[in-house]
Amino acid sequence: MPLDELAATRIRCGRRSYALGEIFSIEMKTDQRELSLHIPGSSRYRSLAAGMTDGMLEVDGHAGELVGCGMRGGILRVHGPTGNFAGAAMAGGQLIVDGDTGDTAGGPCPGELRGMTGGELIIFGKSGAYVGARQRGGVIAVGRSVAECPGYQMLAGTLLVCQGELIAPGFGMGRGTIIGFDATPRPLPTFCRDGLVGPVVLRLLWRRLTQLDFTLPKGIDDSLFLSFSGDLLGGHRGELLYRHHG
């Protein structure tokens, strides 16, 4: 897209819409192969990069609510925290958050039913409640802890939580995978224990996350996981994997 066309793109700000060039200064460095946009952060943003399809956007600071909602491609990097609904209903691309996110990251947009269906949501900090709610695809990786109900009514996809406990994980889930590295195995009573497993597919996931600079524990390739299937209240084809220590 030419720069003048980009500058003329309309965005909503409150009740009005503005041309992008009225709010931001846009420049393209000639040594870059892809268009990369840097903008300052603000907690007042709403729906930043919604529906993004290509290119790279970097936010230097807070990215507000609904950042990257419905995005279908491209790379969105937030050098700071976000509000609620980060990556809501995203279908592709990468949303990488260096800080914490609010609630319902990777879940549905407010008032909607379909959560994230594709792409990769990488959160290096903490995430709030209902991360991956109604997730239907894609990968969510959280470097620190999450609040309650991760993977609520999850239908597909993968949610990885590196630190902390998992409170009511996979409540009502039908399919999909929730992985806890540090959590004590305390699934809901509607989950059934399957035993110790070492799925080869997780090796592919570790390699992909390593490509995205996501830090994983040493020796993860050879780790075993205590597996639970459920939720009996949902489709009973979801899986909870708790990393086995010792």
């Binding site: 799925p199 080869v200 597919v201 592919l204």
Partner: protein, 313 residues
């Protein structure tokens, strides 16, 4: 004066046609090869033993499309850093006349020979191919409803529950155009030198990417010709290359040959097959190997011609 020039021209022409590597004559002949479709599978397992076992079964009965459905063999070993899951593995090339043939053969072979082998996983080795055949999406039904799929980096993998955990297989396999039928004829003065030279030639190609030798140990002892005196037989012994028939047919063997072996080479493209033939010929040329030639069908059947003197220049 004119007679002298004529003799010199004839001598020069003979010298130009003669090529040698050491004491081994390289015949002025060519191999005739065909366009076929191929797929590459990456097979991993917990160790080399199980990987080799799986591949040995998968490529079984895959020597020649004269009577087998495909031609298949291991391409090369892969170290853990080269495989998608970081385990030991190997790549396999499988050639068929058409994409449809591969679409039928690959899932059946994988289902019976890779799925059944302990600890294996199977991945696509031609990610960028537009033409694809179903593999995981075909085998998933073995899971009987308990199978799961996982999409990672936009690729779908199927996880089938089995007795030792899960069998992981990529959803589809890419198919590309390749070249099959590059050929060398190693002619030796005794059995042992012939076998040794053939094995050295095969060893020289063991880890060359893009190349397979689908016959047993990479070597053919039953070189064939098209057709037969018997109705319905598509191929029969190449009598012109049989040392014991020298007194009964017009032989194409070097006069000193007592034992001959063929190497049949399939590759991902014309240049790769040519390079492989050159490498193998240089490895085979040794004591006891009196000549190296290339059988062909008169140049009328195959699209690709590999002239020995050109590829070894």
């Amino acid at each position: 004066m004119k007679v002298t020039v004529a003799v010199e021209k004839r001598v020069l022409a003979t010298l130009e046609r003669t090529m040698k590597i050491g004491t081994t004559e390289i015949e002025d002949s060519f191999a005739e090869a065909f366009e076929m479709r191929y797929a590459r599978l990456l097979v991993t397992a917990i160790d080399d033993y199980w990987c080799d076992t799986a591949i040995s079964e998968f490529t079984g009965f895959g020597t020649s499309i004269i009577a087998c459905d495909v031609e298949a063999a291991r391409e090369r070993r892969l170290s853990p850093t080269e495989t998608p899951d970081g385990r030991p593995g190997a790549s396999v090339l499988i050639f068929g006349f058409s994409t449809d043939v591969l679409a039928k053969s690959i899932p059946r072979r994988a289902g019976q020979c890779l799925l059944t082998c302990p600890t294996t996983a199977v991945f696509d080795g031609l990610e960028k191919s537009q033409k694809r055949v179903a593999l995981g999406s075909y085998l998933r039904y073995f899971g009987d409803g308990f199978q799961r799929s996982k999409v990672i980096a936009r690729k779908r993998y199927w996880r089938l529950p089995v007795l030792d955990g899960e069998f992981l297989v990529e959803e589809s396999i890419g198919v590309e155009k390749g070249v099959a039928g590059g050929c060398l004829l190693i002619q030796a003065t005794n059995l042992h030198d012939g076998l040794r030279a053939a094995r050295e030639a095969v060893t020289s190609l063991a880890e060359m990417p893009g190349v397979i030798l689908p016959f047993p140990g990479g070597v053919v002892r039953s070189g064939s010709k098209v057709g037969s005196r018997y109705d319905g037989l598509r191929a029969s012994t190449n009598d012109a290359l049989c040392p014991t028939l020298r007194g009964r047919v017009a032989t194409e063997l070097h006069p000193a040959t007592t034992h001959a072996y063929e190497l049949v080479i399939d590759g991902v493209d014309e240049a790769t097959v040519a390079a492989a033939m050159a490498t193998a010929a240089r490895a085979a040329a040794s004591q006891g190997v009196v000549a190296i030639g290339a059988p062909n069908y008169g140049g009328k059947l195959g699209k690709y011609h590999f002239h020995l003197h050109e590829i070894l220049r």
